[in-house]
Subunit: 336 residues, 3 copies
């Protein structure tokens, strides 16, 4: 098994950027594959490589989904879980404790690994610097990164096609504010011959820093205003949640945003940033449809009636996320 | 051991109605009996039939008591527990996730069983339909059902008398709004020769649907206005919590409610819907006194001074609830 | 191993007062030492004396730090943990359940030990009286006691100097409102030849009850207004958190409080109740600096720049607290 030194010589999981192509292909994905095999064993026969070890979930922000994922990963590996849904209790403004002291306290309690979710960009890196002993796993820091989501997305594509090189991926919807697509784009840029289609209304377009990163890595990308234009061309359509709760310039739905900013003519059809029968028709048979969840049932970028559609992979992503989390824990705590 | 197919061929625990008399007597209660024996063993020698399995507590509503029960049941069987006290974090209105997607996500994380508490009637059944893989256990859905409470109440009566057939049970207090007594009445109706006394002020009387159900099952029932009238006749008195926080027609205590609606004459004694020395005197020696807890210390349907009274079974009910929860988990996850 | 009968014949941990010098030296500290050895073993080889046992964290008040400590202690010993961060859900005012009924319920669910944090002084003792079966551990009851913090502080001093007898300890800062220093002073008084220096602004001076207790135990103490006066004399400086959120007579910082009440002359230097370079210079080489955490990063009684100072023991205290918690659990649940 590959040691964690492949992992930029760094035991923490802070940013998608820290992982190289060869570590992903030679260490992480094979470790995840071993987790798939471990879980296939009858319950009583599964090895427990992390028995006796303890994970602490330090969540400053609600993220029941991500917490449930890491807890289950740790428990399946035989380890124990403790944590808080309200980490402010550790370090309330009134009491004036720093994040660094909170991390040092958890390390001093001999927890073996800390999963942190925080509202401030950069706080996971700050936690990693304060930690002595326990690896830090970033489960989302504000508008910064959510690297384990990007890793599970990449692994989902890899499991499907056996490779990442040469694939074409459409990132669709709110590319400006979604940290998931921002991190995924950076990971894709580490592979060769990948084409990224960015499909969004103009005001929700991918930010310049990501496009700059893609150019620096010689990754082809195209920006488009309608999913129909690229649906026939791609291996994967990555949809994102309609975040109408965060309005742009007074417009409250993506279609309104698009209409306002892209000066469509009256009578022109609405641009498409979600799934419907027309898109399903256009997509190739082997193409897959992804979404980081939660999907928005009200605005419907991936309507419930398509849940059973065979090309939809949204719950496979969740299970793949479990395998990736298990793999990260094993690589950090029980490398061989 | 009886397989889960006895269980209406259905792995979920949604409603008291789904259980037949023979399944209760031949599968559930014997399984609970085995749990009593398991717990009697020295800690280190107890078998762990659910080792390696994971329970998820999906609680949309506070119910620390029920959560503590299922958690302990799972842990005593060797399994692990994870969950949330604030399941809205999974599917906040803003994010627009459906309950179905939340359930599918937990199933995709390979949790083996989901205990759900929700504020909407029917949500447990909805969860059961969305689930793939994990049995759903209803720990209370709004004013709907709380089947495991009814099962533990029935088991408490059964452990005491070795049978249910032919017993006389008084249900006392707020029969209109208490889902516990509503579910228990339906379970009692599945047995033969049971007599149900319903003792409540008229405006808090048992609803018509339950009485209809009792008639359809040829179960005798009587409605009364004072516990004294039936105390000498019954095997069990089932008291309920004074829910004065939910006033009826402006009256705030049960006695006021009774006075207003039952047109008692001045000077007439207050009707009794709780325990006092007079009732204890009237009850037979072998009769038992039950209550689903929490009891109301302020309004006092079961005053603290009677906690040590030998016929009071309120904390036996709690322990029996643990055995029933263990039995349900074992029957669902490790039937033999 | 010494049995729990040394422990005042009482299985609960309610108050620092209940422990005698010989039990501390002959039972608790040796048990803690065994925990140090247990944790040094490779993860897979550690004995699990509490395997199969269950701890319930009943927290009415946020105390993530203390909860994380007992959870980790129980998990390291092989036991399981369940609990609530919001114990009001058990016994909301509306529902009117008493603390006693809540404790009886948890005992009836066969939890083996209950750690309680409550806002009312005396509630831990009340819980101990209601408990049948499960030992109660007081993790702080209002302005009452926090005995396990005092025990870990004492153990930290003991580990450093191999004894308590004859040592000189400075308690510094808000001695009036800090329950930590109050409990620690009482524990110190049980040893011989200890000298306690109480360094605080007059309005935050140690209360009379503690001083009375010290006199009754023939423990020398001195009250002072500036840490500089005693820094060269002591084995340990025990700093406390600046609790400016609780103002005294309109003054909001300790220096203001001191200035107002101690009538310093203009031009006189500020009194010192925290660490700075001057104090570090004055302290002996073998002296240690302690703090119960959280420290206040804003008011700075122990500024972050001193975290790496070799005499600072604040995170050693946390780890020692873990060993003490493990020792208390083992002595209560698996005495030999």
């Amino acid at each position: 098994m590959v040691t964690t030194s492949y992992w930029s010589g760094y035991p923490h999981v802070i940013s998608a950027d820290q992982f190289g192509k060869s570590w992903l292909l030679d260490a992480l994905f094979p470790a995840a594959e071993r987790m798939v095999e471990l879980v296939k064993l009858p319950v009583g026969e599964r090895p427990q490589p992390l028995a006796g070890m303890g994970l602490y979930n330090l969540f400053y922000r609600e993220s029941t989904r991500t917490r449930a994922r890491f807890s289950r990963a740790m428990q399946l590996l035989g380890g124990t879980v403790e944590g808080t849904e309200d980490a402010e209790a550790f370090s309330s403004a009134k009491k004036g404790e720093t994040l660094e002291d909170t991390i040092r306290t958890i390390c001093s309690l001999l927890y073996d690994v800390i999963v942190i979710r925080h509202h401030e960009e950069g706080s996971a890196a700050k936690a990693a610097q304060a930690s002595f002993g326990a690896p830090i796993i970033n489960a989302g820091d504000g508008s910064g990164e959510h690297p384990t989501q990007a890793l599970l997305d990449l692994y989902t594509i890899f499991r499907e096609f056996g490779r990442i090189d040469g694939l074409s991926i459409a990132l669709v919807g709110d590319l400006n504010r979604g940290r998931t697509v921002r991190s995924l784009a950076r990971l894709l840029a580490k592979f060769d011959g990948v084409t990224v289609y960015m499909v969004s209304p103009s005001p929700l377009a991918m930010r310049e820093d990501v496009k700059e990163y893609l150019r620096a890595h010689d990754t082809k990308y195209f920006e488009l205003l309608d999913l129909r234009e690229v649906a026939p061309l791609v291996h994967s359509v990555y949809l994102t949640r309609s975040q109408e709760e965060r309005p742009v310039a007074g417009a409250t739905t993506r279609v309104e945003i698009a209409a306002r900013f892209d000066q469509r003519q009256p009578g022109q059809p609405d641009p498409l940033y979600g799934l419907n029968e027309e898109i399903l028709e256009l997509l190739q048979d082997h193409a897959i449809i992804m979404h980081p969840l939660p999907r928005n049932d009200v605005f419907g970028e991936l309507p419930s009636r398509f849940t059973e559609e065979p090309r939809v992979r949204i719950f496979h992503q969740v299970t793949n996320g479990l395998y990736i989390s298990m793999a990260l824990l094993v690589l950090a705590l029980a490398p061989q």
